[in-house]
């Protein structure tokens, strides 16, 4: 297995479904980071064969809630002194703002600028969401 230098203080986002790592990397705007970040694609996973991992060599603030949108199996480990000091459990968020966009071409969000894109959870198993404005239901990821 590929060895990545372990981090002293930071965050490891593990068990990302293979292929979603890059999407998540951009969602967290890590391409703009001025500290060390690593995106590992197709790492070995006992459970699924393949997984993606993101290692962030910094303590950044981010809304872990929306990770649940992608997959509730994703784990977020907080590292300090080279050890995992906290594992965050993910839940499927009830409400998401400005993360996903409505696909309905008749929706007002397609024309009105400067409005929040708001979605409400409909079904936590299917992970489907309803647009605040037009009620269209989507499964984001």
């Amino acid at each position: 297995m590929l060895e990545i230098t372990s981090i002293e203080k930071g965050i490891v986002i593990d068990h990302i479904p293979a292929g979603y790592g890059i999407k998540l990397f951009h969602l967290l705007k890590l391409e703009k980071a001025d500290y060390t970040v690593a995106l590992i694609n197709n790492a070995f996973s006992k459970k699924r064969g393949k997984k993606d991992i993101i290692k962030i060599n910094n303590t950044i603030e981010f809304d872990v809630e929306f990770l649940g949108l992608i997959n509730a199996d994703i784990t977020v480990n907080i590292i300090e002194g080279g050890k995992i000091i906290k594992k965050l459990r993910l839940t499927v968020p009830e409400r998401v703002v400005n993360v996903i966009h409505c696909k309905n071409p008749r929706c007002v969000t397609s024309v009105e600028s400067k409005i929040d894109h708001i979605f409400h959870l409909v079904d936590p198993v299917k992970r489907s969401y309803r647009c605040e404005y037009c009620d269209d239901i989507i499964v984001p990821y």
Binding site: R106, V108, E112, I115, V122, Y133, D136
Partner: protein, 306 residues
């Protein structure tokens, strides 16, 4: 308390709040002249970003019969909207002049954007193929006048159930009441949208989806007919193929029950043949007057006058 509230979606008000509006609407219907000075110093803004005569007239007549004044536009091309002004900016400007606003917009959810931007009451008068809650108020007042209450009834819906905003609003409203059952008649391409199906499923409202009208007419207390509208289609061929699919005529009415009332939000094109008009079960022309009364009641409640 309805004072200061907005009506965008039928789920914005509680059952009790709707009851207040209908009770007042029944009172107004008995003696409309009693209310002719109720809104003397009030102004209603009618913002029609999409042409409509019927709904706009109904709101304007309602406000004028309450003694109020009306400002607004019905031709978006001639307004600031044509210059690219946002919905939020338009409604914020209007809030300086009027006491409440009515909005029709081709984009779904536009009135929700308006509500987020202002503090005065905003009423959704139809947003794209989404909702049309004041038509629902009209429909419910008519249903109550004909059969006393909305509970324990079978409601048939026929035609364009996918883009029919009057249908979505009425189904959403009715699904909160006991003993309600739906028979949904449409071609496969025009069945109810997923969010409506999700809602009635979650609320355990029994419903069936069929593509033949005749067989089910007898069990319906009300049949709600709708028009298949050209503007809801991206493609002309689909429109032409589906527009004549579900037509109600005198021959089909023979299969309906003696008290199966026919409702329609109007305007009608050809989905109800004119030979049905003289049938006492045809109630669609009576709906229009009720629409004005119930809008009078809504205005009075949102302004906190009654």
């Amino acid at each position: 308390m309805l004072k200061g509230k907005s009506l965008i979606d039928p789920s914005d008000f509680s059952k009790e709040e709707f009851r207040e509006i209908f009770d007042l609407a029944h009172e107004i219907a008995k003696d409309p002249l009693k209310y002719k000075k109720s809104c003397e110093d009030k102004i209603l803004a009618t913002l029609f970003f999409e042409p409509s005569t019927r709904t706009r007239f109904s709101f304007e007549a309602a406000m004028l019969r309450l003694g109020g004044q009306v400002i607004g536009f019905s031709e978006p091309n001639s307004s600031s909207v044509a210059k690219g002004e946002s919905i939020a900016d338009t409604i914020r400007t209007v809030e300086n002049y009027a006491d409440l606003a009515v909005m029709r917009h081709p984009k779904e959810g536009a009135p929700r954007v308006a509500v987020q931007s202002v503090k005065f009451p905003v009423i959704n008068a139809g947003d794209g193929g989404h909702l049309h809650p004041t038509q629902t108020l009209t429909d419910i007042l008519t249903i109550e006048m004909l059969k006393g209450s909305v509970e324990n009834k079978v409601y048939g819906f026929c035609g364009d159930l996918k883009f029919g905003r009057t249908v979505h609003s009425l189904i959403k409203f009715l699904s909160n009441y006991d003993g309600v059952r739906f028979i949904l008649v449409s071609p496969e391409e025009l069945t109810i949208p997923e969010y409506v199906r999700e809602e009635i499923t979650r609320k355990n409202v029994p419903f069936i989806e069929v593509d033949k009208l005749k067989e089910h007419l007898k069990e319906m207390d009300f049949l709600y007919m709708t028009r298949v509208q050209r503007e809801r289609f991206f493609n002309e061929e689909d429109y032409i193929r589906l527009k004549d699919s579900f037509i109600l005529d005198a021959e089909k009415m023979k299969h309906a029950g003696p008290e199966t009332y026919i409702l329609h939000p109007l305007p009608r094109v050809n989905e109800i043949s004119i030979d049905v008009d003289d049938d006492p079960r045809a109630q669609y022309f009576n709906q229009a007057r009720n629409g004005m009364y119930v809008r009078m009641a809504l205005i009075l409640k949102l302004l906190g006058i009654k």
